[in-house]
């Protein structure tokens, strides 16, 4: 008999508050005139802040909820905080964009909130079916968001591609779950890891098939090679604030799931998942970075860079140690700051209808709009991993964890490809500062909300780059209890 207690509801309080705000936004939406839709945006932002407060409340009553299908542990609280940060930055970056590009509908904000709810459930679930539900909730809202410019061909194409390939990939994931259930008779991750290490079913080829199938489903969401093909088209076609959301939110959520499943539940059958992660990491880094060299469209360039960054994170996961996990957690936050910042900054530069998106359109931007160019330079340097920015330390921690796990070959590939990546990041900086000409970019001043979001990202990048221990300590705290728990299980 399933019993539900009051504490269960406190342990999913952030998700509840986000859902409530999303539904309220949907109800208010038809009653507001088009000129006042931005009120809903601020209301959603209030919802995100309230959910943040709720996450603090939840962190005081940690533990399993709903018959151990959901866990409120430091790990999930960390990820929920990360998703709320991403949602807040994307909301701030989208207010003006929606008005400018004539897609001023309140549903946008509701969908962002619902997507965040799904991602929070992905990170907090300790049960495969719940993970799948979270995956679907976040996917369905992002499919719609990608096609939010209904009258734009590229946006429609992005939505359709993302939907078709995405639903196919989630089917793979579900098929993997079915195999796991058939083999072990459980979908609960804790029970699963106990049974696997006790019965030694680790050797059966059927389990390897299940692991690979699940990795295909999740690999699609984090866009690792060879499941990355959709990424450039979708990132290019989707409205820029949505791309910012897409390139970080679902990705970080899928990484949370990968950590829970492959380092948690399947730890007893480490070798197969390790080889798979290793191979995928190398492929992803090489393909992402080399393909980015040839891009002339800034959004596509950043899309390939996002693929490459997924590869770096896989390096940390392949390390498989507590140090690797804490490096991954740190890196995901850094990555969120710099990628969301870059994408929401591209939107005002590109102008109405996102026309000025070629690299050449940025010519001379450093002189006509020094502030904008400086911000973009910070994001590019951080993405490229230049010291004093957080991007450098993030990579450093990842690669150090990999070296401690004796993955020398992997680290060599990672370092070489990230050297290559500096070329295409700096190309944008060179075009902005060292070429003369009139930029195609528009010269409207940036709206206040966007300035706040950009300032948060830039300051965040430098604070984490100079004082990483502020967050790194937290990341270690998050990583360690999980692993001691795993050690006990083993």
């Amino acid at each position: 008999m399933i019993t539900v207690q009051a504490s269960d509801f406190i342990r999913i309080l952030p998700q509840e508050i986000l859902s409530a705000f999303a539904i309220l936004v949907m109800v208010f939406e038809p009653f507001l005139p088009s000129s006042r839709k931005v009120v809903l945006g601020w209301f959603s932002l209030l919802g995100v802040v309230a959910a943040g407060a709720a996450a603090v409340r939840t962190s005081y009553s940690l533990g399993p909820a709903f018959n151990a299908s959901i866990a409120a542990d430091p790990f999930s609280i960390y990820f929920i905080a990360l998703f709320l940060l991403v949602a807040a930055l994307c909301l701030l970056g989208s207010f003006n964009y929606l008005q400018r590009d004539n897609i001023n509908h309140g549903e946008f904000y509701a969908l962002i909130l619902m997507g965040t709810v799904g991602m929070c459930f992905m990170a907090a679930s300790t049960e495969l079916i719940m993970i799948f539900l979270g995956l679907e909730i976040s996917s369905l809202s992002t499919y719609v968001l990608a096609g939010f410019k209904r009258h734009d061909g590229l946006s429609n194409e992005a939505s359709l591609k993302y939907f078709l390939l995405g639903s196919f990939a989630t089917a793979f994931f579900l098929y993997g779950i079915a195999f796991v259930y058939g083999l072990t008779g459980t979908t609960n991750l804790m029970t699963l890891s106990e049974r696997l290490s006790r019965t030694g079913t680790g050797g059966t080829p059927l389990l390897w098939v299940a692991i690979v199938l699940m990795f295909i489903g999740l690999g699609f969401k984090v866009s690792t090679a060879p499941f990355h093909v959709w990424t450039p088209d979708v990132y290019q076609g989707a409205p820029a604030p949505v791309t910012a959301f897409l390139s970080v939110g679902p990705k970080a959520a899928a990484f949370a799931v990968i950590l829970r499943i492959f380092l948690g539940a399947f730890h007893a059958v480490g070798s197969v998942s390790f080889q798979m992660l290793w191979l995928s990491a190398i492929l992803t880094m090489v393909v992402g970075n080399l393909a980015a060299l040839w891009q002339s469209n800034v959004k596509r360039l950043l899309a390939y860079s996002a693929i490459a960054h997924a590869g770096y994170v896989l390096v940390g996961i392949a390390a498989g140690s507590a140090e690797g996990v804490s490096a991954v957690l740190f890196y995901l936050t850094v990555y969120a700051l710099m990628n969301v910042g870059a994408f929401i900054l591209i939107a005002p530069i590109a102008g109405t209808g996102e026309r000025a998106l070629r690299v050449e359109d940025y010519t001379g931007l450093g002189y006509t709009r020094p502030g904008v160019a400086a911000c973009l330079t910070v994001f590019m340097l951080s993405l490229g991993g230049i010291p004093t920015t957080a991007g450098f330390l993030g990579k450093f921690y990842l690669f150090r964890a990999a070296i401690h796990a004796h993955l020398i070959g992997l680290v060599i590939v990672a370092v070489l490809t990230s050297v290559v990546s500096v070329y295409y990041y700096l190309r944008l900086v060179v075009v902005m500062y060292m070429r003369e000409g009139q930029p195609q970019a528009t010269s409207e001043p940036l709206p206040l909300a966007l300035r706040v979001a950009l300032a948060t990202s830039v300051i965040g990048i430098f604070v984490l780059g100079l004082f990483p221990l502020l967050l790194k300590k937290k990341g270690e705290a998050e990583a360690s209890p999980r692993h001691t728990k795993l050690a006990q299980v083993r």
């Binding site: 539900v4 539904i23 949907m26 109800v27 939406e29 038809p30 009653f31 083999l183 059927l206």
Partner: protein, 119 residues
Amino acid sequence: MLEAYLPVLVHFLVVLALGLIILGLSAWVGVKRPSPEKLAPYECGMPPVGDARERFSISFYLVGMLFILFDVEVAFLFPWAVVYKSLKWPGFLEMFLYIAILLAGYLYIWKKGALDWSR
């Protein structure tokens, strides 16, 4: 563990073989004398009128979509009604919340004009 599924596999193969045999035999032995009437698509015995590939109003899709949504959601009420007594108050409250969310969706589509056929 996998051995338990052997009968399923055997069953699967027998069904496949039987289907192939029946279809193959009728294709091989059967007599074919086609006529225009026989080749026409079957429409409940009526002579077919016009082409099936026509453009029709987008409103049909909208109504179809909404029907699926609300129909599937209401389908959840049936299992709930069966165990209603043993769920007591928490079950009642949860279903109340569920229907309230459903109502929010209904309000949304109504106000958006999705139910207005003439639009």
